[in-house]
Symmetry: C2
Subunit: 619 residues, 2 copies
């Protein structure tokens, strides 16, 4: 695949709007201060092939994760960070205090290190924390019956203005496997789902730049893109661009999995410039703090890391608290043992100390920290299978049961919580994962990596896993963690990230269609109508990757004229099924035939008419 990155940059980040698209902002009703960002794609007219009459096509509104970067009217300076759209909503609740300084030792150590000044984001805002005794989670508000601005934002966003658009077909009823997807997402529905723990709004009070979004089986399936450096260190601008780029193509969430130097400073730049929630795996950074010696990890170091990251604004933490000592030996006979980094770190710690991990034993203290900032749990699956052979084994499901117990504890604390899942699973064993997770974790949102449905295609694991991702999304998974073509082989570059994100976006959409999210089919219908009518530009622009579609088209037929031609490059002008098909339709319409009526109306005559009218399509 050849792809060109021709988008103009500002501050090193991509800002080009999508073609024929404009950003629109839909106002809230309960909270009129809300302005929900969406993208509206303008379409060209349909031209009747016989009469040449033009009929306008309504614009199509689509869910937009790209943030203000694709809005040319917004001024952006990554040194200032994005507009803090949730700032007032948070302050108005009256339950947070602004701290005079960061409360993590490590954070202050870094802040006081003058040698890092050149790396530092210019912090203009003080960290916030719940006032003593307060709980600032969306779950807490939801249970109190409060519809927060975040909830209304999400309700508007999930509907994608479907009620305002003319449906082009009757959407197929979905098969939802016991989900409760309503015909329209209301703010009250969002509240209810959050209240019962069936949905999560990752929304740290210290990340007011993020546009609210929701994870839950009764909402659109979301995707996550992992970013972050590893052995090599990239520049700050590059790190911010990674986030912007991933969101541009459709990432609903990003996880910063950096393990290099200056994680703390890099994270600050990412969060301040991220329009989507940001997750991390705090144990990675904690391990850096003990020079990579897993046995030297302590609860104190981990605790300080949680506070450090919570005060920066991380929206959810992956915490591998389900790796219990007794489960570790269950992995000894696996073909690929433990493949989760967090899981293996904790397994090593457990074995070395012959103790349950501090993540497990201090779980309630972790909850206390989480609720002071509204950081959500992403309960990590440290024992997920790393190959087809190890799928759905004793270790994996034992951990899942423990994650279910921990979910109950998190909920008791009114801390938002979702659950991570595998991994590598053959197709016929995927549903068991979803079903067991729903049961063990009482419908807490599920967040899976793939799963990969075979191990034999390194270089194509975005596809081996995209298959499993689409399926588990259909079965009820709330968020799909993307896999790039470089999985198992190397670090993804920018084009790999784009390929991974778009692959997962299409998988998530396939799942939305299958489970029956209201209005999901509208974009498919609009694109297919454009395709049928040879509106090439509209076909490109309604797709997930307009640039690539156009590039592929132009490889065969580069002339601009070909984009308004009533044929396509597959068959050429003489031999086009779509064109013949349009004739069939014209014929039927003209003769008002429907089904068996054809016969009743004396088709012999009609067919003569058809010929006489010069039905010739071939040029």
């Amino acid at each position: 695949m050849k792809k060109k990155d021709t988008a103009p940059k500002q501050d090193g980040v991509t800002r080009q709007p999508f073609p024929n698209s404009k950003k629109i902002y839909v106002q809230g009703k309960i909270h009129p201060e809300i302005k929900v960002a969406m993208r509206e794609i303008e379409l060209s007219d349909t031209v009747d092939s016989m009469t040449k009459k033009r009929t306008p096509n309504e614009p199509v509104t689509v869910y937009d994760t790209s943030g203000p970067y694709t809005d040319p009217t917004k001024e952006i300076n990554i040194h200032n960070g994005l507009e803090r759209i949730r700032e007032q909503w948070i302050l108005e609740r009256g339950d947070v205090e602004e701290l005079n300084e960061f409360t993590s030792d490590y954070c202050n150590e870094r802040l006081n290190d003058k040698s890092l000044d050149h790396l530092r984001f210019n912090l203009k805002h003080k960290p916030k924390r719940a006032k003593k005794g307060q709980n600032v989670t969306q779950l807490h508000y939801a249970k109190k019956g409060i519809i927060t601005p975040e909830m209304e934002y999400i309700a508007i966003r999930e509907n994608q203005r479907i009620d305002e658009m003319t449906r082009l077909s009757k959407q197929h009823p979905g098969q939802d496997f016991g989900a409760s997807i309503p015909a329209k997402i209301t703010p009250e529905f969002v509240r209810e789902e959050v209240a019962r723990g069936r949905a999560v709004i990752p929304s740290n009070i210290n990340h007011p730049e993020a546009e609210p979004m929701i994870l839950g089986r009764n909402f659109l399936v979301k995707i996550n893109a992992n970013i972050g450096n590893s052995a090599t260190t990239s520049s700050i601008e590059e790190e911010v661009e990674k986030a912007v780029w991933a969101c541009r193509w459709g990432a609903d969430n990003i996880m910063d999995l950096s393990t290099g130097k200056n994680i703390h400073e890099t994270r600050e730049w990412i969060i301040r410039n991220s329009p989507v929630p940001v997750g991390t795996v705090p144990i990675y950074q904690a391990l850096e703090k003990v020079n990579g010696i897993a046995e030297d990890l302590t609860w104190e170091i981990f605790r300080d890391t949680l506070i450090e990251q919570a005060e920066q604004g991380v929206d959810y933490f992956t915490i591998h608290a389900g790796v219990r000592l007794r489960y570790v030996p269950m992995t000894a006979k696996r073909i690929t043992g433990i493949v989760s980094r967090g899981g293996s770190i904790m397994a090593k710690w457990c074995l070395a100390h012959h103790k349950e991990s501090f993540l497990y034993t201090h779980f309630e203290e972790i909850c206390e920290i989480m609720k002071a900032y509204d950081v959500a749990f992403s309960l990590g699956d440290g024992l997920r299978p790393g190959c087809i052979a190890d799928a759905n084994d004793e270790a994996q499901f034992a951990e899942l049961e423990t994650l279910g117990e921990l979910t109950k504890i998190a909920r008791k604390h009114e801390v938002q919580c979702f659950i991570e899942g595998p991994g590598h699973v053959p197709m016929h064993m995927i549903k068991a994962n979803m079903d067991k997770q729903i049961e063990a974790c009482d419908e807490a949102p599920f967040y899976t990596l793939g799963p990969l449905t075979t191990d034999i295609a390194p270089g194509y694991d975005h596809i081996t896993s995209g298959i499993g991702a689409a399926m588990i999304g259909w079965y009820g998974c709330a968020m799909l963690c993307y896999v790039t073509p470089k999985e198992h082989l190397g670090l993804p570059n920018k084009e790999d990230v784009r390929t991974g994100v778009v692959t997962y976006k299409l998988a998530a959409h396939a799942a939305d269609l299958a489970k029956g999210h209201p209005g999901a089919q509208h974009r498919d219908d609009a694109l297919s109508k454009a395709r049928f009518e040879f509106r090439w530009e509209d076909q490109f622009n309604l797709g997930l990757d307009p640039e690539l579609a156009r590039e592929y088209h132009d490889e065969t037929l580069p002339a601009e004229g070909a984009k308004i031609a009533h044929f396509c490059s597959m068959c050429g002008p003489k031999f086009c099924s779509m064109k013949i098909s349009q004739e069939v339709r014209d014929f039927a319409a003209e003769n008002k035939v429907e089904g068996d009526e054809v016969f009743a109306k004396g088709m012999e005559e009609k067919s003569k008419e058809f010929k006489d009218k010069g039905s010739e399509v071939y040029l």
Copy 2:
């Protein structure tokens, strides 16, 4: 994705063997003259991380569609064509006659046209046809209780020597939805499946170069790659290379869908050099013969085209005989009408003549032709849906019922027959397609295009469709027609063909795992074991695309040393979950702990030992 085609060419076709692989030939028992080609991948030793002891890894045998091109011991000259491995088998049955000349008028017209001499393949063999009154189909033999060499070849090929390889894990039991997959494929099982019409062996007596293969729900899922020129004409060498290239990456079948000039001559070159069965859609060529005017098509022209192609050796014909006049108006209200080229041609013909098509009215005569050469029917789905909205509609399923009736007629004539299917179908509506097809067509093999599970990702339709393909393969589909990234946009180039074929190969394999084909998991296990043990070269070589995997790896860590390093590029040397996991395993093995035994044995002490032994993994 960047891919380099560095393979050396001979006669313009790719001949490079796969890395660390050799071609092996397994001899038949019933028919000792059979030599079934397979590929054996040599692996390196496992080196114990503690003791440095080396343990050899058995080579892995894999299904190989690449033909003699990847066997350096074979001499190949595309001007002579491939070795005619089935020639003697066919002659020994004593039921065919060699014709002194071709019996198609068009064929003879072309042969007598001196201006085409430079294009012509140097024919050395006369066409064969069944002796008067004989039926030479595999179905006919199967019903008579004969196990043909083709059947034994297939039995050996389907098993991939699994009995001779040491299993690395217990394969997960499949979920086969009522299929009858045995623990081992025997020649008698192949015969039974063919006899009851549940499997098809595409094997025209005039294509003795092809290595026998089978389509059926109880066998490995197969894939088809479409090749052929369109508006532009390629050179003969290019056309042959297209076929060789598609087979190299895993195409079990190819369809020559050429619509340009010199279709007849090009086809001859392709068939003479194709190691896999070749299918066509004869109506395309028939239409060329009437200058593209669908209404001018006649039974006589079509009949002559069938004979022309059957005597060249086409193994199966797509015949859109299910497009009945009364179904055509059912498509008028669709978003994308009729998208099958063959379907739209026949629809136009039906409307113009107000008659059932000659494909339908002359179906029994077509059967008579098919059985004289053993050409199989691929009953075309001319009314397949072209978008999500049109999936599973009245027109589609009405045609499917007709295809079921035609299947009965074909079987009455003992002509092999399989059925084509959609198209564009959301995930939750795929299974209904498979189930209805099984019922309507009495388990005749199903052969689907995708299906595409969403319309919104032009440029990524190999993936939108790979999802549906994997699923329907699991549900029982016998062959998956590939889709390339250029679908809907343009003509695939070589790299698109590779991407499409590998995508479909992995989808087919995911389906084999899910339905439980015996031994399917062995390659996954071997690759995962290599991955876990950081045998990088083995991991590449066991994959479907070793070149691409290596290229991706080398992008991050190009040094040769990195390929024997005990870490990977994702985490670097300090931070590797696989490495930690190996430690956990070593620890457990050394201490002989299993599950709760850990506790019984006084783990406190063990963990001390672990530390004392210098468990440090970080360099």
